[in-house]
Every structure is written in C-alpha cells, then in structure tokens.
C-alpha cells in the first residue's frame, strides 16, 4: 500500500511503456467492437447458427490475403450481384439480358458456380445461360422455360453447376477441347484451356437471357456465385459462416464478459473484505470462514455442473464466474482495511460518530481504489479465458458467436487435422491479445502501487 494520489498514479502510468501499450490495444479492441456493433447488423450474429443464412458462402475457404503467400493463386469466391442489364424488344419478342463479367486470374478451377435468381414475368419465358470465354469461344450452358403463368408472377430458383442439363450441354461442345471432357465437372470444362485441362485466365462474360412475349418481364434478383477456395478477410468455416463476422462480434462479447465479471467481483470482494476487516472480531471470523468455503470450491468443475444443470445463457454464466471471482480480492482488501482502520483519521471519524457505512465508503474504500483498478485489469483475462474454455467444451451460450465457440466448432470439425489454420489461429490470437491488453494495464498499475517490484 502506498499513499499515491490519483494524479501521481496517472503521471507514472503515462510513463510506463507497458501501460501505454495496454491502453492502445484496448482502444483498438473498443474500436473493433464499435465497428462490429454499427456495421454488422445484429441480425447477422443472431443468424450465426442458421445454415440458410450462409448458403452463398464457400465451405472452409481460406482468407483471400493468403494468396500473397501462395505460389499458386487460389481462386477467390466471387458473389456477383450487379450485372449489366440490357433490354431489347421487337414487336413480338422481348429480351432481358444480364451480363456478369469475371476476370479469372487464378491457377486452379473454381469449386462450382451457382446462378441464383428470381424473375417476374407472365407467360412462359425462356431462360438461357451462356458464357463467352477469353479466347472468344461461346459455350451454351443451360436453357429452360420458366413455369407457365397467365398473370404476372415471381419465380425463384438456383441453378447449380452440377445440374445434369449443364453437363449434357457441355458434352455437345466436347469436340472443341483436345482432351476427354467426359466425367469432368462443368466448371473444370468451362474454365479450361482447350489444349490441356488447365485453367484459362482472362475475362469471362456470363450472360443470362430471358426471352418472353411480355415487355415487362424482368429479373429483379440476379446473383452469380463463382465458388472459390478463398473468401473474405478471415475465410469461412465448414458451415460456410464468414469468420470475420464471428471474430468481430466476439470482441464486444469478450469485453463484456471480461469487464462485467471482473468489475462485479472486485466491487463485491472489496466491500466484503473491507466490511469484514473494519468490523473485526466475530463478524470478521464468520465472514472469513465463508470466504474460505468459496475459496476451496473447485471452480471449473462447478462451473461445468452449473452450466449443464442450470443454464448456459451468457448472462447467467457471468453471474457464475462472479461467484468464484471475488474471493481472493476479499482476502487482500480485508488485510488492507485492517491496516487502514488503525490510522488516526479513521479513529477520528469514529469518535465524531460517523456511521460505519460512511467511514467505509468515504475513508477506507478510496484508499483501496488503486488496488481495485489493478485487480479489475488483472482479473479480466482469467474471466475471458474461463468463458472461452467453457465454450470450447461446448457448454457456452450457442446463440452468441464467442471466440471459444468458434474454437469449439473448429475442434469438432477437426480443423487442426485438416490444416484449416485460419479457423484456429485468429480466435486464439484475439483471446490472447485481449488478455494481454488487460495484463499490461494491470501490471503497469501494479508496479506503481507496489514500488518494491520496480526497483
């Protein structure tokens, strides 16, 4: 215990490199949280466990930036949503044409392609899909007539590259290729050089034509997905979820869990300990025995049993973590308050007939505040890792994508065995960085409060 004033502490803290680093990391994390809350709608993370929401993403795709380190360029997953729309009509037939341009520069074939559309029409228009390759060759991919309808109606469909008609259509063009196209999948033919079965780089134009009798026919939703092996900033997992979303949303969740648990347990422990120390005698004895009981409970087994039998909601979990968090702080603040209460001004306040609660809150607690702040910072990482550990065991709140949850999924799907490093590394690094920020701040504060350690 030192008599450092808040001003001195602040001045010392600014001088400590470690403290500054901690504050900087924390600021970045807060910024990430704000970005996540503002830019990623809450609905996205509530849909985290809904596979339908992620259908247009690729499976276990690595981050796109990984291409910088690769000898071969891995195809990026492309979701094309803004086609060039052309509309031509003569007296009888009207044509709506959507054209998607793709600059294909990768050394591997795409995984697949999907055309997702919903058309508004009347009658039975004809939908045709074709591609013009960089070498000028035109391949007809697909044609179908949409279901007959007399009045104006909407039809939605997904055309997959595995469609048997596509494979049949391509087999008509097999003479254009110098190798056997038999048994090759559609994307391996469309994106192939003619002489060998290697990807042909260049600009491809996919066009989708809707022929109909009615000039009001249109395709309001039109999306071409070229399935790749790389996606987004952080890649995707086995369930096609965009890991960037999960990681970003994990930040405010982790900060919430860490701060809520540590602040609440420090406040609880501080008041409990100070009260016990100040009161002394029987009260102190009884309160400390109770403290011993909680201290001796094995925390992790109990947390597991509690989350299995009572509830695994994230808020209840915060409460459980608090139960085990306040004990150590209560012990230390008791011994500190034992020292403080012997000081003259506490005696004086007592003589003046001030209430116990006032003496505790006005004269003792403020003395312990530096210690309290340091304890908050130091106990945050433990709270975060414990929650992550519980989630990792599959006992976390399934409705929130915490980092532990992501790691749990990674472990379930054998990410380590399959070399999906982008699924394992980032969540752990985020947990560690968050922990580090608070450890830095806590240690910097600790060094100021306990000058002995510095020397």
């Amino acid at each position: 215990m030192s008599g450092a004033t808040p001003h001195e502490i602040k001045e010392e803290f600014v001088k400590s490199k470690m403290g500054i680093a901690g504050i900087l990391i924390l600021a970045i994390l807060l910024f990430i949280s704000i970005v996540a809350i503002i830019f990623i709608p809450v609905e996205t993370f509530q849909e985290w466990n809904n596979p339908g929401n992620w259908i247009s993403n690729p499976k276990s795709a690595m981050p796109t930036w990984a291409n910088f380190f690769m000898i071969e360029n891995i195809p990026e997953h492309k979701i094309l949503e803004h086609p060039n729309i052309e509309r031509t009509s003569n007296e009888e037939i009207s044509l709506v044409s959507h054209q998607f341009g793709v600059n294909y520069i990768y050394d591997d074939f795409p995984n697949d392609f999907i055309y997702e559309f919903s058309a508004r029409y009347s009658g039975a228009p004809l939908l045709q899909m074709s591609v013009i390759r960089p070498d000028g060759m035109k391949l007809d991919i697909f044609s179908t007539s949409l279901p007959q309808s007399d009045s104006s109606s909407t039809h939605s469909e997904r055309i997959f590259s595995t469609d048997s008609q596509i494979i049949k259509n391509l087999s008509f063009d097999s003479k254009k290729f110098e190798f056997a196209t038999f048994r090759l999948s559609a994307e391996n033919i469309i994106f192939s050089k003619t002489n060998t079965n290697e990807p042909l780089k260049g600009n491809y134009v996919f066009s989708i034509d809707l022929y109909g009798m009615n000039s009001t026919n249109q395709i309001p939703e039109s999306k071409l997905i070229i399935g790749g092996k790389a996606f987004g900033i952080m890649g995707t997992d086995e369930l096609r979820r965009d890991l960037a979303t999960g990681l970003l949303w994990g930040t405010p969740l982790a900060l919430f869990i860490g701060l809520a648990v540590s602040i609440a347990s420090v406040v609880m422990g501080l008041l409990y300990g100070v009260y016990a120390g100040y009161k002394g005698k029987k009260t102190d004895e009884a309160m400390m025995r109770f403290n011993d009981v909680i201290y001796a409970l094995p925390a992790l087994p109990f947390l597991i049993i509690l989350s299995v039998t009572i509830s695994n909601s994230i808020f209840v979990m915060v409460g459980f973590l608090m139960i085990f968090g306040w004990v150590g702080i209560a012990k230390v603040s008791r011994s500190m308050s034992l020292q403080i209460k012997t000081r003259g001004y506490v005696d004086a306040a007592n003589m003046m007939g001030q209430k116990d609660s006032k003496i505790i809150l006005k004269h003792i607690v403020p003395q312990l505040l530096p210690y309290a702040f340091a304890s908050v910072a130091i106990s945050v990482p433990a709270a975060i890792t414990t929650e992550a550990g519980l989630s990792f065991l599959g006992l976390g709140d399934p409705s929130f994508p915490t980092w532990g949850q992501i790691l749990h999924d990674a472990n379930t799907f054998g990410a380590a065995a399959r070399g999906l490093w982008w699924w394992i590394m980032p969540p752990g690094v985020m947990i560690a960085i968050t922990g580090l920020a608070f450890v830095f701040i806590g240690n910097a504060l600790d060094a100021i409060i306990n000058p002995k350690l510095k020397r």
Binding site: R289, D292, V293, Y295, A296, L297, P298, L300, P301, F302, I304, I305, L306, V308, T309, I310, P381, T385, A388, G389, F392, L393, G394, L395, L407, A410, N411, A415, A416, A417, G419, W421, I424, M425, P427, G428, I431, A432, T434, G435, L436, V439, F440, N443, K452, L453, R455
Partner: protein
Amino acid sequence: MKKYIATRMATMFGVLMITLLITISLVGSNMDTILKQGVVFQIRSEITENPAIAQSFSSVAEFEGFIQTQIEHRIKEIGLDEPWYSPQRVGMTMYKIMLLDFGNATFLTSDEGSSDVRDILFEKLPRTVLLFTTATIIISIIGIFLGALSSNRVGSTVDRITSSFAIISSSFPVWWIGMLMIFLFAFTYQIFPARATPDISASDSGYIGSLLYHMALPLITIVMIGFGSWAYMVRNFMVGTMQEDFIMAKKTIGIKQGRITYVHALKNAAPPIVTVLALSLSGSLGGAIITEAVFDWPGMGRLYFEAITVMDLPVIIGATYLLTVFFLVSIFIADLLYGYFDPRVRTEK
C-alpha cells in the same frame, strides 16, 4: 499451533460437506429419474429371465399390473419413494460418498469394462497425476531457477525476457496452444501423435515407452505455457526479499551475491513459493479438464468431460468429490507448510 490445525481441519471438512451438498442438489432430480429407470429396467429383465412368471398370468393387463406393483415395491424398498431432498436420503447419499461408494456409472466404463465408479476413477487418476504432476514439477524447477536468476539481475536481458514471456504466456489459453501444437507437430510436421491415448494395451512390454511418447506433446505444451508465470512469481517474491535489511547486512559482510541469492534469499522466499507449489500441484488435477479434452489424454479431466456430455451423474459426483478432496488436502498442506516455514504464523496464537 494445535488450535490452528484444528480450525483448519474443521473448515476443510465443512467445505467438503458443502461441496457435496451443492453437487447433490444440482444433480439430485436428474439422479432420481435415472435411478427409477434403472429399477424399472432391472425388474423387467428379472421377469423376462423367468418365463414361469409370465405364464402364470391370464391377461396382459394383469401381468402389467403385477410388474407395476413389483416396481413400486422395489422403489419403496430402496427408499426411492421419498424425494431426493429428504434429509434421510441426502444423508445416506453423503455417507456413501464419503466412504468412496459412488455406485455404478450409467454409461461410462473403465478400460477393463467395470462400471463401478470407484474403479473408473482410480484407473484414470494415476494418468492425470503422471502427466500434470510431472509437468508441474518441471515447471516449478525451471520457474524457481529462472526466477532466482532474474531476481539476481533485475533489469538485465534475462530478467526482461523472463518477465515479458511470463506476461505474454499467461494470457494464452493452454488448450489453444495445445490445438496449435497438435496442428504443427502432429499434422504439419508429423513428429508426435495427435491423440495422446497410447494405442497399445497396458500389458504390452512397450507400453511405458509408448505412453511417454504420447505424453510428450501435452507435457511440452503445459510446461511451455506454465513456467513463465512461475518464474515471474518467484522473481517478485525474491525481489521483495532482496530488499530486506538482513540481505543488505549479508552483502556488507561480503558474502557472495550468488550465495545470497540461492541460499539466503531463496530460503526466505520459500513460504509463499511452497504454498503456491502445493496449490498448483492439486490445481493441476482439476484444471486439466480442457487440456485433457484437447489432447485426448485418458485421465480424470477427460473422464469428467465425458461424464458431463452424457450426463453420467454418479461419475460426475464421484469425480467432483475426489477433485475437491485433493484440492482441500493440498490447501491444508499448503497452510501447514506456510506455518512451518514462516515462524510468524507458527507463534501467532
């Protein structure tokens, strides 16, 4: 001193009872359902084994009625008709548990196929001790040595590296590093096996070698993450001691710095270090749940995890009890050691 030990022991016993009570009350209602299902199953199989009973009844309804009365009779006989929270039953359960009679596991069995919870627990316990106690001992040796070394040269490169390594490693979850180690050294570079369970039977001659080989990766991981914070802690204790007057006095007499550090200061910093050692030895048993699950090490931690996933209540209760006992015993020992090493505590009362 006697009074000190007596209060300690009383508290420990109280804690043990409270832990048991909480555990039982958390899983009690589930436990009841499972036990009743067990009785129904038992009666039905007894009756099917004896076809003469079934033949002596004329109608199906009558036969079913007979089975029902039999079940009710049996439930009453073993006292299941009272709710689990009745004092008699709670007392009975706690008495049994204290005598290490945990009953039979619902799903899990030991490697030899026994479903007695005690057999299962005592089969897994030595393995956890083998891995985690070894790790803790290695960690503490490295930690004490490094800590003393860096306290000797505060501010030197060794000190700075130790301190920063301690701070960094303490914020990484061990199990995550475990995942990375498996990813790196079991799959990318295939040096160690990914699953830590030895794949040959215990009677085989190469079993010990295989066990050690499988143990290597988890052991390295735990030691790597653990020793930093130990070194840092020892350093901080030592730095505190080194500023005491008696050390200054020894320096002025002219005793060598090395001797002061490793003999005089270390001896004085011993009480807290020994306390932490005792605590972390037992903590290593309980805190192993996640690490064992990652490495698939067939010890107490993984058993606990498996029991939780299939809700095998007798195993959960048994394991919790055992972990608590170990934890309490080590707290007790730590307290005693503290008193032994620190004369101020010994003579206090």
